[in-house]
Symmetry: C2
């Protein structure tokens, strides 16, 4: 996807830095912090400044190309702004973040549409817990501990 035209329609300029940040964000498929994105992008352009990453992300958000999500760790995480509603499952064991689409968020929107008088614009749903992988591992630890002579 070429962001040049999009940037220019809003009076922004297409710079190598912006292209690099945008490309890295799309490649990531994840939910990177500004710093992680900076680390990534720095491999191709070592001088690209962290401040420029922050500024670029704000621009991309303004164009609705990117979006900041809050996963509860105090930092901002960034993702490509897909039109579909999505929510995030955060594993407290391995830190992995699963990005889920589906009708859950749409159901929430419907639920809210009835009655409250609140005009819903954005639904941020973050679920904390333990992912399938880690649940298995934790169970085995539990078993191991339980089987010790002096379990503590």
């Amino acid at each position: 996807m070429d962001v040049g035209p999009l940037l220019r329609t809003e009076g922004y300029r297409l710079t190598p830095q912006r292209r690099l940040v945008w490309d890295a964000l799309r490649r990531a498929e994840g939910h990177l912090t500004a710093e992680e994105l900076h680390d990534e992008v720095t491999r191709a352009a070592p001088d690209l400044n962290l401040a420029s990453v922050y500024r670029t992300l704000r621009v991309l958000a303004d164009l609705d190309l990117a979006r900041e999500v809050h996963l509860g760790d105090g930092r901002g995480h960034w993702e490509v702004a897909h039109p579909d509603d999505a929510f995030h499952l955060v594993c407290r064991s391995c830190g992995e973040v699963e990005h889920h689409e589906g009708d859950l968020v749409e159901n929430i929107r419907r639920h809210l549409a009835g009655g409250h008088g609140f005009t819903t614009e954005r639904v941020e749903l973050v679920v904390h817990g333990v992912c399938a992988n880690c649940t298995g591992r934790l169970d085995s630890v539990t078993r191991e501990v339980a089987s010790r002579p002096e379990g503590r």
Copy 2:
């Protein structure tokens, strides 16, 4: 509610500062930041330090008496940890935060229980939009602007 015994069972001590913060949090019924809570508590105890507020909140969270919520403004907000699931509606116009209980979050839990293998521990649902009050006001502004000779 007397937090003394609860604190002591976990090896904590009941200090005037802790009691004041806890009382202020309960009185608030809202979602105060550490600083707002500090402002509140300072009226009764001008020397109570902001760092003590932060430390107290961590202790209360450890006892599951209080809980931090992330409303998307980068700061932490604090509330009494009711056992019931709840979610928050944040108005982007007036900043008001509505705290809602109800079956929405329970529905989400049920939805997640099916299949993913993810063990849900905490559901954080924050909905951004415009509250009923402000929707009315914004509509009237729209009408006013639309009726001007040179609408812009």
